[in-house]
Amino acid sequence: MRNRSSLRDWLGKSALCGVALVWLFPYLWMGLTSLKPLSEIIDSPTALWPEHPTLAAYREVFRSLPLARYFFNTSVMAFGIAALQITLALPAGYALAKLRFRGRRWAFGLLVATLLVPAQVRFVPIFSLLARIGLVNTLSGLILPFGVSALGTFMIRQALLSVPDAQIEAARIDGASELYIVYRLLAPLLRPTLISLFLFSFVSHWNDYFWPLVLTTDEHARTLPLAIALLREQGTGVRWHLVMAGNVILSLPALAIFAAAQRHLLRAVTVRGFGG
């Protein structure tokens, strides 16, 4: 009996190790490849550790790409989208959760209906729309189409339903304006929801490849995922040490946010599903 349970324990532990290996080895291999010179990569593809570790690949990536600009573009875009979504979703969520007015059901239905229209369906007309008004290759063009998040508005509305009306009445009696109520009274109450929403939106747009690919044609508004993916398409023969160095630079910020705020991201995911 005793033997059997310790055997099961051992089996369970080794299964855990196996799982960890399947999910962590690719990252490890990415890191190790980025530290190897190209000759080592080609001569011994299965050698684990670099014989002569070097940061040359990183130097080369930093030298050949305007990384600072891409970092800036990507951060401004992801931050702009997340901030705009929350700024717009708060008053809308408040009106839908707390105020009685004609057309409320209709407005709510319309909002939920937009959940059915993914960016991958809208991009053809939005591209020609933005092309007409000269927003191709601009950060505004990258941010504006994602300014409203139907799911974010929905989540904020749901969270506001549990705020007692009396609290809002009291603020009104004190002479608070509706905007004051939304941004100064309710927003702090929703802190955990807002943090989850912000981080999830930031990370998914930091990672986004599709829309920047469609909307940018030159360096000006290019974002990091696009630039790193282009590393592979440049020149003859793939220089994997460079691609992996770029990949480390691209994935580290997302992994860092994940490590620091895993709990918040999980909250958003269980509500939202994946997609964008």
Partner: protein
């Protein structure tokens, strides 16, 4: 609550609805209109009626895109659900190591599709990739061209996607397992039910709503795969990985056929609506059953 002033709710909603109009409803109308024209973005558009739809159907392109998308996304859904459920059962235990492994699996879901695509492009590289290296070492002979063989590439893309999104299915299944009452499991154990029996007759039936939720959300999402295809295979070899979004992208940006891309997008949207409708219907009948 009564608004303090009757107009308040309307202007609070106004910014959101301006955005919804400009970036959701207007584009949707334009999409349908464009699908009736032949237009290359450079010369004036010409009205062609339903010709775009007809040529999509007749050329067999639509059917091919549909079956490719369906087979890749079915593989992704089944693979990630099986893996997510198995891992949830394995990792639903206290302890720091289990928490660490949960985090490791979920991290892949947080990293970008581009990162994951590039990573596996390198792991699966036919010449210098580590998998090919192991293959030469242990199996001998040339490694299969995972991404270069039209019979293998769709499954390679699906496998990479499974690796990426299993973190999501794992998290949802873990949440579902919390709702399985411990008392029933313990009662079954006292009655002498084996772990397999307990899973089959208690856990699995009680997980049904979770399973349906994961299945439908991940099917709808995997119908929209694009990044991993763009990075790893560009729709090839021989169009074997040309999924819907990639086909639309290709028609617009490589062939400059706005009308045809729009018609394809309209059909794609219709399919997504059908899938969502099926999801709704599923949950309705689940809830009333």
């Amino acid at each position: 609550m009564k608004p303090s002033r009757p107009a308040d709710p309307y202007w609070l909603l106004l910014p959101t609805f301006v955005f919804l109009f400009v970036f959701f409803f207007y584009p949707l109308g334009m999409l349908i209109e464009h699908s009736l024209f032949s237009w290359d973005l450079l010369t004036p558009a010409r009205y062609v009626g339903l010709a775009n739809y007809r040529s999509l159907l007749r050329s067999g392109e639509l059917w091919q895109t549909f079956t490719t998308t369906l087979s890749i996304s079915s593989a992704v859904v089944m693979g990630s659900m099986a893996a997510g459920l198995a891992l949830a059962l394995l990792l639903d235990r206290p302890g720091r190591f289990a928490a660490f492994v949960r985090g490791a699996v979920f991290s892949a879901y947080v990293v970008s599709w581009v990162s994951v695509g590039l990573l596996f492009l390198w792991l699966l590289d036919a010449d210098a990739g580590i998998l090919a290296g192991f293959w030469r070492h242990f199996v001998h002979g040339r490694a299969p061209q995972w991404l270069g063989d039209p019979a293998l590439a769709p499954w390679a893309v699906a496998a990479v996607s499974v690796w990426k999104i299993t973190g999501y299915t794992l998290v949802i299944f873990l949440a579902g397992l919390q709702d399985v009452p411990q008392s029933i499991l313990e009662a079954a154990e006292l009655d002498g039910a084996s772990p397999a029996k307990r899973f089959a007759s208690v856990t699995w039936p009680l997980l049904r709503p979770t399973t349906l939720f994961v299945a439908t959300t991940s099917l709808i999402a995997s119908f929209q795969l694009f990044d991993v295809v763009r990075v790893m295979t560009q729709g090839g070899p021989v169009r074997s990985t040309t999924v819907f979004v990639y086909a639309i992208y290709e028609q617009l940006f490589l062939d400059l056929r706005v009308g045809r891309a729009s018609a394809d997008a309209v059909v794609f949207f219709g399919i997504l609506l059908l899938l969502t409708g099926a999801q709704f219907w599923f949950f309705r009948s689940e809830a009333s059953a």
